[in-house]
């Protein structure tokens, strides 16, 4: 009960932030009736999906301060569980998605236990390696479709149990619900015991340990929470795209994007991941469709994207949220 109250309690944010959140909620609710085309709707769904990923990453990467670059493997676990159980045994989405989350949780404990012996760069590269190993296995594993991937069987009629709809408005509202679930969870998380312990570990691990905090265990817990979030998003990707392969759900680029969006938005802050993906997903998409389609300009969209990453990393490592706070302090 107390936890629920904490989750819905936004009073410790400033007035501007609360008004912003309210306006944003209204925008999300009425968005499908604003008459945007299909392309904008796809971008919006992508934005919500990446916010979900980013909020998950933020537990371990932002609050915990661990540079985690292997989240794509959990996207893959979530997506493959949903897809495979549906193809093999016709398991509905609402059963297979929780199973996927459970598998991701179990796997993250197994991987996390040795992983968190490592620190700094060793840790960062080890997370990339674990993700690449899993991707390589899936690329070569014939049983799960190997490099060709799997197509989900399409139902004849729109089916809520299997999350298959004709109109992507349904997907939009579904991911929006997930997004808010994640948002409330994060609001609770940042005030929870684990949240405070993680921030202490981020600031000074030795001091935290001397106060009796089991740093390794805290990190493993946060890592598993992040993995569960990401697996939910992976399950959504499977039913939304109706097709997955190891390159689309387990690629290193995806891991990096997840971490990058949170970092650019502002890691370790409540709004960072949301701002980051609100900024990068449309940029990525619009640049891609605008420049990518023009002959002779292939790659220019990514060059602009990359230049932006470099500038923000060099100028304000605390991300866009860091820049906003800087201005606020000057104003006050």
């Amino acid at each position: 009960m107390e936890a629920l109250k904490d989750a819905f309690d936004f009073r410790d944010f400033s007035k501007a932030e609360r008004i912003g959140l309210a306006l944003f909620t209204i925008l999300l609710l009425v968005f499908p009736w604003l008459g945007f085309g299909a392309f904008v709707r796809v971008v919006m769904i992508q934005f919500l999906l990446f916010s979900l990923f980013g909020m998950g990453w933020n537990t371990i990467g932002g609050y915990g301060g661990q540079v985690e670059l292997g989240k794509a493997q959990y996207v893959g676990i979530g997506a493959y569980t949903v897809a495979l159980t549906m193809v093999w045994w016709k398991v509905p989405f609402w059963v297979s998605m929780p199973i996927g989350v459970l598998i991701a949780l179990g796997y993250s404990f197994i991987i996390g236990y040795p992983l968190f012996r490592l620190k700094g760069h060793y840790f960062a590269i080890a997370t990339i390696c674990t993700s690449l190993v899993l991707q390589d296995i899936f690329i070569n594993w014939k049983l799960v479709g190997a490099a060709k991937g799997i197509e989900l069987p399409i139902r004849e009629h729109p089916d809520f149990l299997f999350m298959q709809f004709k109109n992507d408005v349904h997907y939009y509202y579904f991911i929006a619900v997930l997004f808010y679930a994640a948002l409330f969870y994060m609001n609770w998380f940042r005030k929870s015991k684990l949240g405070y312990q993680l921030r202490m570990i981020k600031d000074d691990e030795e001091a935290a340990e001397s106060l009796g905090i089991d740093a390794r265990w805290c990190k493993i817990k946060a890592y598993s929470i992040a993995s569960a979030f990401v697996a939910v998003g992976g399950g959504f990707m499977a039913v939304y795209n109706l097709y997955i392969d190891p390159y689309s759900v387990m690629d290193l680029d995806l891991s990096i994007k997840i971490a990058l969006m949170s970092m650019l938005g502002g890691a370790g802050s409540m709004w960072g991941p949301i701002i980051g993906s609100a900024f990068l997903v449309p940029l990525d998409r619009f640049l891609g469709s605008w420049l990518g389609a023009q002959k002779g300009l292939i790659g220019v969209d990514f060059m602009i994207y990359a230049a932006l990453i470099m500038v923000v990393s060099a100028y304000q490592p605390r991300g866009i949220w860091g820049i906003i706070e800087q201005f606020r302090k000057k104003g006050a």
Binding site: H121, A124, G299, M303, A307, P317
Partner: protein, 295 residues
């Protein structure tokens, strides 16, 4: 016999992996930065060798200095325009800064050269091989391995015998103490990036003789270089050398092993997977790497 052959081929390949890893480990040792763009430096080195040899109609081996110089310039420019500013931030910003550089270079190459796979077709050594008893070596690989050892020894000599190298190592050991002795940290950092870029540029020039170059070629090599550097111990030059050779051997022996025991699952498509896996096991059991002194 087949095992011995694979072992020798693996050592040849491993020597080149070691040269790729050398720059990464020097940069890390001096300034605690992992350069994600390292594989893209390699790619640029490969393209440089490819285009100069194609346009000037000279042998790709003669264009090696060009690759080296382009690599050095690339290292210097990256340092002065980007990395200098990244140093102020936390580790994650540094990682993403160099990651941005990697994306930038990759898509710049794609923009300039397209996504075609290119390889040096003509050259003194291309397509020729040396047979020593039952073993057959491609001259391109053999010369790459020999030159790689040469470059390695040169850098090793420079770091351990010259005044400049000693200054660089002093900065790596303790930046502040070194700066009290009048060693300018800024210059040493730039030097590290110059050596790092130069060596990996040369590695690229050697590699393009027997490996296709395309804009995303860097990823595989940067992962192998990460694995070698971490296995050997971040910042350790000796470590990078042995770990590179070790990885080369593992990568060649693994498919042979799978073939011998008749397992389809242990085929060549997993030869790099096993490298990542080996990395994971080594760093978990020995987090400072095989020869590490920093972590």
């Amino acid at each position: 016999m087949i095992v011995l052959d694979a072992l020798l081929q693996g050592i040849l390949m491993g020597l080149l992996f070691a040269l790729v890893a050398l720059g990464l480990t020097i940069i890390f040792g001096v300034m605690d930065i992992v350069n994600f763009a390292h594989g893209e430096f390699l790619m640029i080195g490969m393209y440089t060798a490819y285009w100069t040899s194609l346009l000037l109609h000279v042998d790709p081996l003669i264009t090696l200095p060009a690759s080296g110089i382009v690599g050095m310039l690339l290292g210097l420019v990256s340092y002065y325009w980007l990395v200098r500013y990244l140093l102020r931030g936390p580790m994650i910003a540094q990682l993403f800064g160099t990651f941005g550089l990697m994306l930038f270079l990759r898509y710049l190459a794609q923009f300039l050269f397209g996504t075609d796979y290119r390889i040096v077709q003509k050259g003194l050594l291309v397509g020729k091989s040396l047979s020593l008893g039952p073993f057959i070596f491609d001259w391109t690989k053999l010369s790459a391995a020999i030159l790689s050892v040469l470059a390695f020894s040169l850098v090793y000599y420079m770091l351990h015998r010259t005044k400049l190298g000693k200054a660089l190592r002093a900065t790596a050991l303790n930046k502040e103490a070194a700066s009290y002795m009048g060693i300018k940290t800024e210059q040493m950092n730039a030097l590290a990036w110059m050596i790092g870029g130069g060596t990996v540029g040369i590695a690229g020039g050697l590699l393009v003789n027997f490996w296709y170059v395309y804009p995303t070629v860097g990823l595989l090599f940067v992962m192998i270089a990460f694995a070698s550097v971490a296995m050997g111990g971040f910042g350790s030059i000796k470590g990078a050398f042995f770990a590179g050779v070790l990885i080369g051997m593992v990568e060649m022996l693994f498919p042979v092993f799978g073939h011998l025991i008749g397992s389809e699952f242990l085929g060549p498509h997993f030869k790099f997977t096993i490298v990542y896996f080996a990395y994971f096991v080594v760093v978990v059991l020995r987090p400072q790497g095989l020869f590490g002194w920093k972590h």
